[in-house]
């Protein structure tokens, strides 16, 4: 199917089904129940799942295949967002030109930054990309205020030209749309106590995510992808085999930068504003965490990692002390307070602590990320598959 072998095609199909039914799957708990706060099926969060999924898929093409750890990928995300918002301001509220310009701009930036950074490898490469990203952040935050809006960020205004859309008749700032369908439009489906929300923006982003995922599978399976893995494995041999590693790594860098720009453009399409904080180094670090958490160099890993981190960021951070007290109300008073005091640092604003612990556990016990965890689980249920992967990864003594 689509030039994929059976295994990859079924993976793509599974992801497509999961993404299509996400509004149901992510809302398993009825409205108003105690567990309802664990529901993730609201448009804003679902959009984030797929958009950061795209970001991580792209990052994995660079990091997973070539092993070059970029610490500045958020710069491309930010550049994409700015480009998209400018398109909304100047040309049209249609998301298509905005996304196209976002991808192209990010690609050009990636070409320049990659050309310089890829002169070094290892830690020096990471530091160079980090330096470039922080420079971009500084530029966006202060120096280039007329273009980027500085601290307040770039926003739409009533008097923006929007050449293709014609004069604005109303007194409302228009919203981004796809040929008449507004990104923020939602339909609710009420089934008993359950409310499922179907959002235009989510499905638009999800389709683009599936396309990106498909392209990434093709890259992984192509001779080009094999060369990238060869770069990671042994650059010396690659050189002495008559291949120049530099253009391969640069191409991978630009492709992953374009993925980041696509994610940035989609973010701006869902909510048309762009701020410099999207380029901050913590944002670059986040995509590294997503990729490692999910499984470096695996196809589906980065998407899982992105989903996991965004879920924790949005769900765990919402839990507060009152909710904890209500959960542990069955315990005797003194004990209840003790348990709540112990758990409290890990929730709300402390969700980073929980993330840190999860991340450590994964890296120590599942170096292959959540994907490896899944394989181990599958192995527990007596599948032969786990056996195969085990023999492939253990390295006998020479």
């Amino acid at each position: 199917m689509f030039g994929l072998d059976k295994k990859d095609a079924s993976l793509l199909l599974i992801v497509a089904v999961l993404v299509a039914f996400a509004p149901f799957l992510l809302n398993p708990f009825p409205e108003g129940s105690a567990m309802a706060q664990f529901n993730a099926g609201y448009p804003d969060l679902m959009q984030r799942f797929v958009i950061f999924g795209i970001f991580a898929i792209g990052f994995n093409i660079l990091f997973g295949l070539t092993g070059y750890l970029s610490f500045g990928h958020a710069a491309f995300l930010g550049v994409g967002s700015y480009a998209a918002v400018w398109m909304f301001k100047l040309l049209s509220m249609n998301v298509i030109p905005a996304i196209i310009l976002a991808v192209i701009t990010a690609g050009v930036f990636a070409l320049i930054i990659g050309y310089v950074s890829l002169r070094r490898s290892g830690i020096y490469f990471s530091i160079l990309t980090l330096a470039f990203a922080q420079m971009s952040f500084a530029l966006a935050y202060s120096v280039l205020t007329p273009i980027t809006g500085g601290e307040t960020g770039l926003q739409l205004a009533l008097d923006d030209p929007r050449i293709l859309d014609g004069a604005n008749q109303t007194n409302n700032i228009p919203v981004p749309g796809f040929f008449g369908m507004e990104m923020r439009d939602s339909t609710d489906l009420v089934l008993g106590n359950w409310i499922f929300t179907f959002n235009v923006g989510y499905y638009f982003a999800a389709i683009i995510m599936l396309i990106s995922f498909y392209v990434s599978i093709r890259i992984f399976r192509s001779p080009f992808g094999m060369m990238l893995r060869a770069v990671k494995s042994n650059q010396q041999r690659l050189n002495y085999t008559g291949l120049n590693p530099r253009p391969y790594t640069l191409a991978a860098f630009v492709i992953s930068g374009m993925y980041a720009g696509l994610a940035g453009g989609l973010m701006a399409s869902m909510d048309p504003l762009a701020g410099a904080e999207r380029m901050f180094w913590t944002a670059s670090g986040e995509v590294v965490l997503m990729t490692i958490l999910g499984g470096v160099g695996t196809l589906i890993g980065p998407v899982l990692g992105a989903g996991m981190i965004k879920y924790m960021e949005n769900i765990i951070s919402k839990i507060n002390a009152d909710i904890l007290h209500s959960w542990f109300a069955f315990l005797p008073d003194g004990l209840e307070d003790l348990v709540v005091t112990m758990i409290y640092p890990f929730i709300g604003k402390g969700w980073h602590l929980t993330l840190g612990i999860v991340f450590m556990l994964v890296v120590i016990f599942l170096p292959g990320g959540l994907v490896q965890g899944g394989q181990k689980l599958a192995g527990l249920f007596g599948r032969k598959k786990a056996e195969d992967t085990k023999t492939a990864t253990t390295e006998p003594a020479e």
Binding site: G3, R218, P223, G225, R229, N234, Y240, T241, G242, P247
Partner: protein
Amino acid sequence: MGILEVKDVNKRFGGLQALGDVNLSVAENTCHAIIGPNGAGKSTLLNCLVGKLIPDTGSVMFDGQSVLGRTPFEINQMGISRVFQTPEIFGDLTVMENMLIPCFARRDGSFALHGIRSVFSEGELRDQAEQMLEEVNMLDKRNMHSASMSRGDKRRLEMAMCLVQNPKLLLLDEPTAGMARADTNNTIDLLKEIKEKRDITIAIIEHDMHVVFSLADRITVLAQGTPLVEDTPENIKGHPKVKEAYLGEAA
């Protein structure tokens, strides 16, 4: 005029004269061995041939073209393949993938995007790779993870990766170092077979005299960065200078 002409090559590392006025001519379709005691400059010379080091003075011509100032991948594209002292292969990849990479390099040059088609739709290159694997008796291992193989197998794979490119010149840097006797003999047989079957020039650096004398058509003895003598194996065996510099202490 040989396929490889090294003229008056000098290389200094600080105060150490690693190579002094090295002249070497390797004739086409022969096997030329370079021997010498430790520190004689054998590896330095080899590195000057493949673009890893640039000599201070002198010239290195391959097939009528200078190799100086070219990067290793450009030199490989000219037709020189190198086997390393410790096998350098793509450990994260399968044996088949290891074989396909040099095939792509030969067909598409030093960089190509190769389109987005699957690796396994490249029937012609696959056949080429499989044929080569057959030749080195490794076809049954084609789906193995190459890092998990024995050292001897890695060496054979590396040799196959170089040979599948059909190089004009094959450089071997101590191909049997650290090998068991049986593996060494296998390697000798393999190299002999290659010599007979193909139009290929081989330059070999080796410590093991058994290997050298069973393969080489000509031998250059290097000592302290300068060639001592160059002659046929028979004459080298009895040469007094060589005995003094090398065989004397080894024998």
